[in-house]
Amino acid sequence: MMMPLIEMESVEHAFADGSIGLRGCTLSLAQGRRHALLGANGAGKTTLMLHLNGLLRPTAGHLRWRGQAYDYSRSGLAALRSGIGLVFQNPDRQLISALVEEDVAFGPLNLGLDDATVRARVATALDAVGLGGFGRRPVHHLSFGQKKRVCIAGVLAMEPEALLLDEPMAGLDAPMQAELEALLDRLATRGVTIVLSTHDVDFAYRWADQIHMMAAGRCIASTTAQELASHDEALRAAGQRLPQALALHAELAKRGLLPAGAAPRSVDAVLAALRAPTTHEQTGELQT
């Protein structure tokens, strides 16, 4: 079995004011997969991400990166953060420079790369997020969605093996969400391990390979997206309902309109299956 890229073992975290952020969280994140952290507001998703990036240290428990315990020394953290990039929820809290290219260059420069390499990486990262030609723009003249993409470019330019995104869809309109999803798909195809937090169960079910559910600082269940239906109780504990595609498919299968078995991953895919002339003869997993 392949070694997980990041592991958390019984991680606990108590904040300075005494409130509890994480309670005995155990999690395993496989390399090259799409992971979704699913939970209601205040479930501990952001706290968990800050632990994965080494910005917070656990009060108890351990984290491992490629099988090695996290090294919280200065050089250890620098190495860790060059491998695990974190994109924050609010772009105005991440963008540190006034110019787009300056901000995207911030991380690579901290890695000690030379100017020519940094320029090449900045150009590649901006192209990847669809902002080629925006390098000389001031960040305060950009829209919220563009700022978010600059934040992602700023982390991509560090060429991390794992990309953490805290509520990436928050505040984006539908077309921008679709664009961001396409970008995440491209990154996943390139082999980047993606971990994102969300409270949108439909998106998590449609997009992720692995879904990790959280509630009240606990990691209550981890499952593949295909097996989400069998975690009804964990979903409810995480403040979620069954994905609409699953519920719709179950109802249609009950009425004999679609074959039972593996369900499509989105409502659009359910509708496509319903419209397909050979629906009743189909067996096995339906494509999204």
Binding site: F88, Q94, L99, R119, H140
Partner: protein, 244 residues
């Protein structure tokens, strides 16, 4: 905000800041060297012409931004024209008019030169120039962060202000003052929170204590510097011919 917008929209945004700073410095030096009012007026007009016609800064923006220093200049000139009267009190001194006009024109020429630089050079380019001139890094980091935070906090202030107005927070003078005080107090907390968040975000991208910036690239810098040197020499020549 208007200065910032003008600097990003002008036609000289891609001109190396060194060339623009050289021309502005030459304009200030020429204003200091020139003696006759006519020459000073020509110098002011040349700097103004370069900004308006060369960099295509809109006339309206130019005069809207120049209004504050021009008002200050006008007030100073009026103050200089008022002098103590012999029997006590104050009187107008028309005999001082040539001296005051001379000072006003010199100030105007220097102002036009400075405006030529600030209205065509975005702040990050100015900071990059200062970095090349070996201004202490700590000071530049503070300037860069203050500049960035200025827009973030302005946005937060506007949002708070709108939210207060929506809940009748500005319906009277008393409420307006109270709302402003509350917002100012809330902004203090926000500044602290945002500063902590920025530090966290910088740490997440491997920040090791100091901010590092990529030097801006200006592919035609050499040609632009040569042209600026030529124009600067012209300004200084006009001033020197006058002072000889």
């Amino acid at each position: 905000m208007r200065i910032d917008a003008a600097a990003y929209a002008c036609h000289w945004q891609c001109v190396t800041p060194a060339a623009k700073a050289l021309f502005a410095l030459a304009g200030i030096a020429a204003a200091w060297l020139a003696r006759s009012p006519g020459t000073l007026a020509v110098l002011a007009l040349l700097s103004m012409f370069a900004t308006l016609a060369g960099a295509r800064v809109p006339v309206r923006t130019y005069f809207a931004i120049a209004a504050a220093p021009l008002g200050f200049l006008l007030l100073s000139c009026l103050t200089m024209l008022a002098t103590p009267a012999e029997g006590g009190g104050w009187r107008w001194a028309p005999e001082l008019l040539p001296t005051v006009a001379h000072i006003a024109l010199r100030s105007l020429a220097a102002l036009a030169a400075v405006l030529g630089l600030v209205l065509t050079t975005p702040m990050p380019d100015l900071l990059a120039l200062l970095r090349r001139l070996r201004v202490p890094e700590l000071l530049l980091e503070l300037m860069a962060l203050c500049y960035r935070m200025l827009f973030v906090l302005r946005h937060a202030w506007d949002e708070g202000n709108t939210a207060q107005a929506a809940r009748l927070g500005h319906s009277g003078l008393r409420q307006r003052w109270r709302s402003m005080g509350l917002l100012a107090g809330q902004m203090a907390v926000q500044v602290w929170q945002r500063a902590a968040a920025l530090q966290l975000a910088a740490d997440a991208r491997g920040c090791r204590g100091s901010l590092r910036f990529l030097p801006s690239a200006f592919p035609h810098a050499r040609r632009q510097l040569a042209l600026s040197l030529l124009a600067s020499t012209l300004l200084l020549a006009i001033a020197l011919r006058d002072s000889a």
